[in-house]
């Protein structure tokens, strides 16, 4: 099979096994994903890299069984442990979503409920997946919010009172509170500025180690995968064009599309122009005329 050649091989028993996944729109019939094949091992981080429209978000939704059967035709195999996600009943999927596999969406302002406090929204996830009492759940929520770098007072705040970075930290806390084995992060920093983005990436790296998480990080920017992803899957128009160890692909991309993705990373001018540089004078210290 064509896609097998691009399979990302793993040494350990895979946690998530995706085999020849094909997803099409039913009306009008149009393929969105074709022959996606990869394995995700426990504690491993895979970067899914591609431009807008490559099918990255559809892949994330398919992995959680979120594609409505009335609109989408899903074929192939998505195996999480012994469970086949594609054929699983809705009540079975509900025990996996959020509890075993969690998803952090692109825009937290659209995923957080604007009329509920942060504390209530984090508690909702625990209520759905754990049998703990209210006091225990509150302790767990505060502990998870602290783990993502948020103060306890935030439980009384509403989403509109938080910055973009804080909202994304809440979304990550919600995703991790049930201690899932797999975290899918779908462009979690695309709506954030660079400084906030750096903070969220650092947080994900730290939490991945602390919780032994397997991470599927979806992005259009290869630089974000640097130091984060062990392996990458490059997607173009719903197909895998290249897959393998991040450093190898970064240094020697085989497919022209992968090369163009890495080529579009603009070099940081200062690194190359330092010799020409002169001192910058802060405004208050600039000499008066």
């Amino acid at each position: 099979m064509k896609c097998r050649a691009l399979n990302v091989g793993t040494m350990t028993e895979p946690l998530l096994n995706v085999q020849d996944l094909t997803v099409s729109l039913r009306s009008p019939p149009a393929p969105v994903l074709e022959g996606i094949t990869f394995d995700l091992a426990p504690g491993e981080a895979i970067g899914i890299l591609g431009q807008s429209g490559a099918g990255k978000t559809t892949l994330a939704r398919a992995l959680l069984g979120l594609l409505s059967p009335g609109l989408w035709a899903v074929e192939g195999c998505i195996r999480f442990g012994k469970i086949d996600i594609i054929g699983a009943a809705e009540h079975r999927l509900q025990t996996i979503r959020g509890a075993q596999i969690s998803l952090v969406f692109q825009e937290p302002e659209l995923t957080l409920n604007p009329v509920l406090t942060i504390g209530r929204q984090v508690d909702e996830v625990l209520k759905a997946h754990s049998g703990s009492n209210r006091t225990r759940r509150r302790e767990e929520a505060l502990s998870m919010l602290a783990a993502v770098g948020l103060e306890p007072e935030i439980v009384r705040a509403y989403p509109h009172q938080l910055s973009g970075g804080q909202r994304q930290r809440v979304a990550i806390a919600q995703a991790l509170i049930s201690k899932p084995k797999v975290l899918i992060a779908d462009e979690p920093t695309s709506a954030l500025d660079n400084v906030t983005q750096a903070g969220i990436l650092e947080l994900l790296m730290r939490l991945r180690k602390a919780f032994g998480l397997a991470l599927l990080f979806i992005t259009h920017n290869p630089a974000l995968l640097s130091g984060l992803a062990d392996r990458i899957v490059v997607m173009l128009q719903g197909r895998m064009v290249e897959a393998g160890v991040f450093e190898q692909i970064c240094c020697k991309p085989k497919h022209p599309y992968t090369r163009s993705l890495f080529d579009s990373l603009l070099p940081v001018p200062a690194r190359l122009e330092q010799s020409e540089a002169t001192l910058t004078i802060p405004l208050e210290e600039q000499p008066a005329r």
Partner: protein, 289 residues
């Protein structure tokens, strides 16, 4: 290089009057209200800027630093509470409605999200021709000039009849740029023109703006949170934080010797491939910028 008393210095002939001058510009908003007390938020605090003809100045800062408020003040969508705003030596804030209308054609703004800045019911051609029709230019001439402007930004003639939502994010941004250029403005204000776009498209828009700058001898005021993208277009960068310009300088000096903590944060947060540069075989040559 000479230094202004405050604010940004753009290298330019001394005799040439500045295209745009901002002196002690401040803008406040009232936030909150019943049942809590109203709070005055200083969105812009004592801004000093000077922008000379055919130069590119980038205003870089985190989310919430006042970048978009500044852009809206520059195109008279917001009225500053105090300070001076001079365009070609004219005190813009003292002008009446008719005076402002005449100046508006010379300063154009490209909004952050082109999808929400365009009428979804109009075709790309009608969107670009609309500013000319408002200026009472004949329909035939408007259409001809709109076609030429769309070709200039690489939108082919075959697709000019399509509606904005039928275009990709990058194409919509090109249409927004064509609409802004159709009145041949002297100053183009670009408010986060790369946000919401994938990396390849971002690089294409950087290339397009660089080409337009050269071919049309344009003056740009670029607003962005991405210091790297800004550095590839701008001559000078000013860093804004909590409504104040905290540091400014040439691209090389600011990136290689950031003085202020806020600037260092922005420089450090530029995503980069953390690999041995000798291993990276496919990178854009340094000569391209």
């Amino acid at each position: 290089m000479s230094l202004e008393k405050h604010g940004v210095t753009v290298p330019a002939p001394e005799l040439c009057p500045p295209l745009l001058e901002l002196r002690r510009l401040s803008k406040c908003y009232l936030r909150g209200g019943w049942p809590s007390a109203r709070v005055v938020v200083k969105a812009l605090d004592n801004i000093h800027l000077t922008l000379r003809d055919s130069s590119v100045l980038a205003i870089v800062g985190k989310s919430g630093s006042g970048k978009s408020t500044l852009a809206r003040c520059l195109v008279f969508l917001e009225r500053p509470n105090s300070g001076e705003l001079r365009f070609e030596g004219i005190d813009v804030l003292s002008l009446n409605k008719n005076g402002l209308k005449a100046i508006r054609t010379k300063i154009q703004l490209v909004f952050q999200q082109p999808a929400t800045a365009m009428n979804p019911l109009l075709s790309a051609l009608d969107i670009v021709a609309e500013p000319l029709l408002i200026q009472h230019i004949s329909k035939r001439e408007s259409c001809e000039r709109a076609l030429a402007a769309l070709e200039e930004v690489d939108i082919d003639r075959a697709s000019v009849g399509r509606k904005p939502l039928d275009f990709s994010g990058g194409q919509r941004q090109r249409i927004a740029i064509a609409r802004a250029l159709i009145l041949q403005p002297k100053l183009l204000v670009l408010d986060e023109p790369f946000s919401g776009l994938d990396l390849i498209t971002q690089t294409q828009i950087v290339d397009l703006l660089a080409r337009l700058r050269t071919s049309l001898a344009m003056t740009f005021l670029l607003i962005s949170h991405d210091l790297c993208m800004a550095a590839h277009l701008a001559d000078t960068i000013a860093v804004i934080e909590s409504g104040r310009i905290v540091e400014s300088g040439t691209v090389a000096s600011l990136l290689s010797h950031p003085w202020r903590k806020e600037t260092r944060e922005l420089v450090d947060s530029i995503p980069e491939l953390l690999l041995d540069p000798r291993q990276i075989v496919t990178r854009r040559p340094a000569a391209t910028f």
